[in-house]
C-alpha cells in the first residue's frame, strides 16, 4: 500500500517506525529520483551513488523538513544538489583536457542501450550542450512534467526566470538537432 507524504513523514517521528518510513519514502520516490539524477549524471553507477546519498541526506535532515512543502519537492531539491556536486567533482577529477560538454555527449553515447532510438540519443546529446540551469529546467519540465511553481521551489528560481530558461533551452535543443541530426544521419 502506497503511503501519503504526511504518513511517511509521521513514521520518522518515532525511532520504532523510522526504518518503515525510510523504506516507504524510497519505494515512493526512488524511480523518479533515479531518472532525474541519471539524466544529469548519465552514468548508471554515478546515478546510483547520488541516489543513495540523496536518501541518506533526507534521512539525516528529516527533522528539518517542514510540511508546508511537498516531500517530493524537498527530495528533488536534495537530489539536484547532490547531482550537481557529483558533476563538479567529476569535472575536477577528469584527467583529460577534453571539453566537459563533449565528455558528457560521449558518456550519453556509451550509456545508450542497444535498442535505443537514435533521435532519443541525439536529444540527450543536445541537452548536454545546455548551460546548467537551462538543463535542469528543461529536464524537470519536459521529462518530469512538473509545474513551474514546483520547479521554482526545487531550483529556488522565480517562475518568470524558469519560463525564460525553458524557452531558451527549447530553442537551443531544436537548433542543435536541426544543425546536427541531418549531418550524422
Amino acid at each position: 500500500m502506497k503511503l501519503k507524504d504526511e504518513e511517511i513523514v509521521n513514521l520518522f517521528a518515532t525511532p520504532q517506525t523510522v526504518e518503515k518510513g525510510l523504506r516507504a519514502m524510497m519505494d515512493a520516490y526512488q524511480s523518479r529520483l533515479y531518472w532525474h539524477i541519471r539524466r544529469l549524471i548519465v552514468d548508471h553507477d554515478g546515478a546510483q551513488d547520488v541516489l543513495q546519498d540523496t536518501f541518506i541526506k533526507a534521512y539525516q535532515n528529516m527533522h528539518q523538513f517542514k510540511n508546508d512543502s511537498k516531500l517530493y519537492t524537498w527530495l528533488y531539491r536534495i537530489a539536484t544538489n547532490e547531482a550537481l556536486q557529483a558533476l563538479n567533482k567529476m569535472n575536477r577529477m577528469k584527467k583529460t583536457d577534453e571539453d566537459a560538454e563533449y565528455h558528457m555527449q560521449n558518456l550519453v553515447a556509451d550509456n545508450a542501450g542497444q535498442d535505443a532510438e537514435e533521435i532519443q540519443v541525439f536529444l540527450q546529446k543536445a541537452i548536454q550542450t545546455l548551460p546548467e540551469k537551462q538543463k535542469l529546467v528543461f529536464n524537470l519540465r519536459y521529462y518530469d512534467d512538473l509545474p513551474y511553481d514546483e520547479i521554482s521551489k526545487i531550483l529556488d528560481m522565480s517562475v518568470g526566470t524558469l519560463k525564460t530558461n525553458y524557452h531558451y533551452a527549447k530553442e537551443k535543443v531544436e537548433q542543435y538537432i536541426k544543425d546536427n541530426y541531418s549531418q550524422e544521419f
Partner: protein, 178 residues
C-alpha cells in the same frame, strides 16, 4: 529514454545500502516537540496574586540605607514645618508674655487686697507661669535661624528624626499652640 534500464534488484540493493548506512548505523535526530501546558484560570489567578504579593513585599521591605534616607527626607521637612509654627508661637507667646507678666503682677497685688479671688488668681498665675516656663524652654531650644535648624536636623540620625516626628505628632501641647 535511450539509457539502459537498471536491473530488477537495483532498487532493493540500493535500499539495503541506505538502511545499512542510516538506521542501522546512526540514530535519527527525532524532532522533539515542545511540551504544551494547559493553563488553568485558577492557577493563573493564584500565580498573579503571588506575584503581586511578592513584588509588594520586596519593595516594602527594602532596607537599603540610602533608600530609607531618601524616604525620610520629607520627615525632615515636616519636622521643620512643625518647628516653624512653634517658633512663631513661642515668639508670639514671648511677646504676649510681656503682657501676661504685668497682669500677673497686678493680680498678685490684687491678691493681697482681695482674698476672695486669691485661689483663682493663684491658679491662673500658676498656669501662666507654667506656660511661660515652657515658652522659655522652647525658646531656648528653638534655633534662631533656618540654617541652625538644618544643622541641628543634620546632626540627627534618621532613627532619631523618626522618633522626633513621632513625638511631635503625639505632643499634646502642640494643639495648644495652634
Amino acid at each position: 529514454m535511450p539509457y539502459t534500464e537498471p536491473t530488477d534488484d537495483f532498487f532493493s540493493k540500493m535500499q539495503a545500502n541506505v538502511i545499512s548506512q542510516t538506521v542501522a548505523k546512526q540514530p535519527l535526530a527525532v524532532k522533539k516537540e515542545a511540551k504544551v501546558f494547559s493553563l488553568n484560570f485558577s492557577w493563573m489567578a493564584a500565580a498573579a496574586v503571588v506575584l503581586i504579593g511578592g513584588l509588594t513585599a520586596f519593595f516594602s521591605l527594602n532596607n537599603d540605607p540610602e533608600v530609607s534616607m531618601a524616604q525620610q527626607a520629607p520627615i525632615v521637612d515636616s519636622v521643620y514645618e512643625v518647628e516653624k509654627p512653634i517658633q512663631n508661637t513661642s515668639t508670639d507667646m514671648m511677646a504676649k508674655n510681656d503682657n501676661v507678666i504685668p497682669q500677673t503682677q497686678t493680680l498678685k497685688t490684687e491678691q493681697k487686697n482681695a482674698t476672695a479671688n486669691a485661689a483663682t488668681s493663684i491658679d491662673n498665675s500658676s498656669k501662666v507661669n507654667a506656660m511661660a516656663d515652657r515658652q522659655d524652654y522652647t525658646a531656648k531650644n528653638t534655633p534662631k535661624s533656618d540654617l541652625d535648624v538644618e544643622k541641628v536636623l543634620a546632626a540627627f540620625t534618621p532613627d532619631q528624626l523618626k522618633d522626633i516626628d513621632r513625638n511631635s505628632e503625639q505632643d499634646v501641647y502642640l494643639d495648644l499652640y495652634n
